[in-house]
């Protein structure tokens, strides 16, 4: 569920993420973290759990960017973590935000990442409209 000041944008983002989940059946949950490290869309209701998810995603983004700096690289395109019981996938958006998704252990990760990359422009569009409002 998206949490954003503009109601149109929240609905747009929810629709984009719902479309992504419908398209890619392997996705169990997904979220969007803004460039300011705010969790603007999540399956969790506002509260402690949602804040925890936002903080953990922000920590992963920070760790990834640290690895990029240490490797002498500029920007990250995507991150894939095999967590044993499933996969955590992050696709970077314009402006430093990320589109994140979790899958089960038997998911077709390449296909999920492909769908996430395709959904990226729609997510960026919804975020840009939100910042305009």
């Amino acid at each position: 569920m998206a949490e954003r000041s503009g109601p149109g944008t929240a609905q747009d983002l929810d629709r984009v993420l719902a479309d992504l989940r419908a398209l890619s059946g392997d996705i169990e949950s997904c979220a969007v973290l803004s460039g300011d490290r705010d969790l603007i869309s999540s399956s969790h209701e506002p509260g402690v759990e949602r804040e925890r998810v936002g903080a953990m995603l922000a920590a992963l983004v920070y760790l990834s960017e640290r690895v990029a700096r240490e490797s002498g690289k500029g920007y990250i395109s995507q991150l894939r973590i095999d967590a044993g019981g499933g996969q955590l996938l992050l696709v970077w958006l314009d402006g430093g935000g990320v589109l994140a998704a979790t899958t089960g252990p038997e998911a077709r990760v390449g296909l999920v990442l492909y769908d996430m990359r395709n959904a990226r422009s729609e997510v960026e569009k919804a975020l840009a409209e939100g910042s305009d409002q």
Partner: protein, 69 residues
């Protein structure tokens, strides 16, 4: 020259065997790759689960996979 190369090869093999034996005796496995970071230039950085850096990622990811996003 041939003799020197043979000795160097042998020395390398012995060093490799010692390193592998040391890892085995300390209970370490080669370490499965669990984290893959893809950069915008297409290059990939992989982190193994038996490194501190890799564990930082997997510990957080495990919690997120359990609770959902």
């Amino acid at each position: 020259m041939k003799k020197l190369l043979r000795r160097l090869f042998l020395l390398g093999a012995i060093a490799g065997a010692v390193y592998a034996a040391r890892g085995y005796l300390q209970g370490r496995s080669p370490g499965q790759v669990t984290v893959q970071i893809v950069f915008d230039d297409g290059s990939v950085r992989s982190l193994a689960s038996n490194t501190t850096e890799g564990r930082e990622f997997t510990d957080i990811a495990r919690k997120l996979v359990e609770t959902g996003l």
